[in-house]
Symmetry: C2
Subunit: 407 residues, 2 copies
């Protein structure tokens, strides 16, 4: 009899189902107000443009053949070219050679970790961090180092030895916070001083609802070093939040010599991303990307405003929360006496509201502050403002009750 | 300045671009007769069925939403169900819980290696093996053991200690050869005796042109152990060879408890396969899978027959070749004096015919026989019989010349 447990690789030790993904399976449960998952709102997807793009492929025999045959591992050349031109126009000069198409930015994070991490290597991450990045990195068994929250402590002597630092500069998941220009420059200084790479998760960059855009680390690095091929940054982008997730098209942008290595990883991992989906995507971004992003920003801005207003009304003194300028998430911190994991459990079972307790977002083996242990994530992306407001009111009631119970 | 080479993981040592993939980039070069790459013929893809399936999704708002939102990591439930029912009907009883959808079977091989291999673990493979499997496994740094060609040497005492054995029982890439029923039973005996897992690559199984189907290892293991959940086999399937590669839909079938682990790997690697592509695929397999396979078999059978006839005419004495009952490949062995790598180079540069020298298919660190060093792979899948015949005639001329030169 095969004892499968004895055959599993060491990377599988302690790997358990993600609370968030398991919870997302509950999405059909209509009685629950879902403030946990951060799916994009399907009402925003550009259906008619995709339908037209699709019909245009099937009615052109040459394009239909291309759409169904294996694509190059690097990605569909015209899409790589379009992304390079778009990024160049946005202030990050690059060519198609700097672009690898991936199945969403999640696959980009997996490939970068596969490229850069041997077991025991040091990986620096913000605390808390995007859970999907942590799970991607976990498979390559790094030792995690927390990037200090205060950039005054970004000291090369103390923080050396990491192979990379992973950050989400704009409205990052889970906190919704944004790195200042000064912090971005300081992080580039740290990379230059330590020789580590920077992984920049740009997945929410386009979803800014107010305030001025701040240049990406990649842009700043190109300006600093004169050429993307000399930049220490690998940027992961995606169309999952701006067009639709299930086309599964994202990209990595970085030095061409690094992209060539990543292409070999793509080949060995799943050969290529769907040509059909890349062609659909290219057609649609050329016609409706900007409009779709504009519409998404209108919808999400209103929901964010409503959620922040509801939090202000509902929450008792001692609860604090972030005020994101974009993205899909708000991060709240409960008063000292309340444990966030218990809070999230009671929110679901007693009040039928889902939120994600902060514990899910902390990398194994790093120190977490008491405030972080009392934190949880809310998302305003998926449900309408009134329903979300109802959910936040219930959370406020629970926070008051738990505050009283602990008094 | 970031020294990227110093940051690359140890798994990247010695990783270079695949000769085959690089050569596939030449596919546009019209003056070359391509007997190297084994792409399916795009003339066989079911365009009108896919076009209709596509239109049906875009005209149904509920289905369109499902098609564009994140799919479950396990895969689109109705597709998993369909695959399970199909496999059950084919003699491998299973349920949707035994099925994980992957981006083609290549991703299935990557995930299984990610699940089962820590650096230095032993992985048993046939020699030669599918190059895509070797590249997928390489990333997890196994020590390779060759499965002896003669099953009389499949001895548990000599071959113990491997975490898995990877095999392609039907018309495997690159040799086109098929395991007998006795060999399959002997391999199951070896797995039972050593406790290793079996990875069964089923990607060509449907493309049988003559002879009787032989039960898959998975079927035999279910019959032997009474239940797929007790089978030592993980089976990788794909629609890349039967419908179209660029939908990027394949699957892993195996014990449900192992599939649950693989789902976690899928989550961390790229979250989910495109819902759109899974829905397109499901629609099409329900209506035209059997017809498409039948048509493919007619086309490929004729090309195989033509290629075997041409090889028989063209090749000088001392050249041997396999006679595959299905699949896309023929494996040829040159006379003792001719090196296959040089032969392939001269075939391309002097005769404008591409073939793949055997060296690409041998795993690092294993012993290769002199006959294997003199071998090369031809594919009959992509080009019409007359052109392929011309190519084989040129190869025969080269083999004669190199035989004379070495005399």
């Amino acid at each position: 009899m095969t004892d499968w447990n004895s055959l599993y690789a060491s990377r599988m030790q302690g790997v358990v189902a993600s609370d968030i993904r398991e919870r997302m399976k509950l999405l059909g449960a209509s009685e629950i107000i879902h403030l946990g998952g951060g799916l994009p709102d399907p009402a925003i997807f550009p259906y008619s443009a995709l339908s037209a793009a699709s019909a245009a492929i099937w009615t052109d025999p040459v394009r239909a053949r291309t759409a169904l045959q294996y694509a190059p591992s690097e990605g569909h050349a015209p899409l790589r070219q379009w992304i390079a031109e778009r990024m160049t126009g946005d202030g990050a000069p690059c060519t198609a050679d700097n672009i690898l198409i991936t199945n969403g930015s999640q696959q980009g994070l997996d490939f970068i970790a596969k490229l850069l991490l041997s077991p025991g290597d040091k990986a620096m991450v913000e605390i808390p961090s995007f859970i999907g990045a942590l799970r991607a990195f976990d498979a390559y068994q790094p030792l995690y180092i927390g990037l200090p929250q205060d950039s005054a402590h970004w000291d090369a002597a103390a923080l050396g030895g990491a192979n990379f630092c992973y950050v989400g500069p704009d409205f990052r998941n889970p906190t919704g916070t944004t790195m200042t220009l000064g912090e971005r420059e300081a992080l580039l200084d740290l990379a230059d001083a330590t020789g580590m790479a920077l992984i920049e998760d740009g997945c929410y960059e386009a979803l800014r609802y107010d305030g001025d855009a701040i240049p990406s680390l990649l842009k700043l690095a190109i300006a600093r070093h004169g050429d993307i091929d000399k930049a220490p940054v690998l940027y992961t982008g995606t169309f999952s939040k701006t067009i639709a997730p299930s086309l599964r098209v994202g990209w990595i942008a970085g030095p061409a010599h690094v992209v060539r290595k990543l292409v070999l990883i793509k080949q060995a991992s799943d050969l290529a991303t769907s040509a059909l989906n890349q062609m659909l995507l290219l057609d649609v971004v050329q016609t409706v990307l900007d409009d779709t992003v504009t519409r998404a920003c209108v919808v999400y801005r209103e929901r964010r405003d409503s959620m922040l207003a509801a939090l202000g009304e509902a929450m008792p003194p001692g609860v604090t929360f972030t005020r994101p300028e974009g993205g899909l998430y708000v991060w709240a911190e409960l008063p000292p006496a309340i444990d966030a994991t218990l809070f999230a459990q009671r929110a679901l079972t007693e009040h039928h509201v889902s939120v994600i307790a902060g514990a899910a977002f902390y990398p194994g083996g790093t120190e977490v502050t008491p405030g972080q242990r009392r934190s949880f994530r809310l998302s305003f992306s998926m449900i309408d403002a009134d329903l979300a407001r109802d959910g936040v009111m219930r959370l406020g009631e629970l926070a008051r009750r738990m505050t009283l119970e602990s008094a």
